[in-house]
Amino acid sequence: MSERDVPVTRRAMLAGAAAALAGVTLAPGIRLVEVAQAAAEPGKPVTSKVRWGLLIDAGRCTEGCNECVLACNRENGLEGGARPTDPQWIRIVELKDRRTGRKASAPVMCQHCASPPCVDVCPTGASFKRADGIVLVDRHTCIGCRYCMMACPYKARSFVHEPLTAQKPEVPRGKGCVESCTLCVHKIDRGDGTTACAEACPTQAILFGDLNDPASAIARRVAEVRTTQLRADLGLDTGVRYTGL
């Protein structure tokens, strides 16, 4: 029986009416059904209704400050560069215009690309993008080949060279795996709605939020001001964006 032959029952009619109601527009761009699905629901699989991202205002980033890096190290149990081989999830990059002498600094971490090169090259499928746009390494499958480190244009990934013993219980890490910024995925899944770096920034230069939710602070800001994607020429559609570079 083809779809056209199905008689329209009272029940189907009501279901259709309910679906239409769920699609009602609350405000331009916001619909009832999306608001319900975008809320963080612990215990439910993540969906692509959400795209987590960061907006970094290089104009507010203070030269010489590394509070975000320290907060990241504390939150994720990183060693913090005591040894030259220690992993680094955020780097502070300083830019200087040679002609004018203008200086700017900004933190650079995994840019959580929509089309991540690290995922393309991974031979085991360990490097993957979650439905909500977070690019992660599944350490259970990572063989430590480091192809993803080569592929990443942002040098965002690190390799764990030394055996670790003092990991945080919510951030398992181990020798022989590649790792990078997880956008504090354990905090997001818990429903904290922020990252350690965004919380720690003394000048609120880092804004975390859902790029897909037009009502979120980050989406409104991105719609308002000109933002830059690092190496936009590569067309990776990064989740981390910059202003004032």
């Binding site: 612990p42 699989p45 992660l136 219980p169 181990g174 354990h186 899944d189």
Partner: protein, 139 residues
């Protein structure tokens, strides 16, 4: 001939040393009443109930954890009764606070006994984390 004899002597010596080592390692192995079979010494808190009967847990806990880890890493589903963290919240040793790191620790004693390599704790902490506590307030 002398070479063969010395080899035999060396083999006997090695066997003796192995037996002596086993005897030294014995304190972590308990023996059931009237049985010659050594068993792993595990202290289990019987006041709480595990997610499945012991015989099921013994055979399938690794499958449960494997299924769970993929859901956690790829779909962000955390907590729940089958999470490693939830296991640790009951099975971590009351004195050391961990399920590994001592011959009579819950995970380690049984894995040592069965001769199965325990990989989880090369990355995961052998002690419960904050999520387990958080979870209690949630359905």
């Amino acid at each position: 001939m002398t070479c063969g004899a010395s080899l035999r002597r060396a083999a006997a010596l090695a066997a003796g040393i192995a037996v002596a080592l086993l005897a030294l390692a014995a304190p972590s192995m308990a023996r059931a009443e009237g049985s010659r079979v050594p068993l792993p010494s595990i202290t289990v808190d019987r006041t709480t109930k595990c997610v499945a009967p012991p015989d099921v847990m013994r055979r399938t806990h690794m499958e449960m954890l494997k299924h769970r880890r993929d859901k956690t890493v790829h779909q962000g589903v955390r907590g729940g009764d089958e999470s490693l963290n939830r296991c640790l919240s009951c099975h971590a040793d009351k004195t050391t606070g961990a399920a590994v790191g001592a011959p009579d620790a819950f995970c380690q004693s049984c894995h040592d006994y069965a001769g199965v390599k325990l990989d989880c704790f090369e990355c995961h902490q052998g002690r419960p984390g904050p999520q387990a506590k958080l979870r209690e307030g949630r359905p």
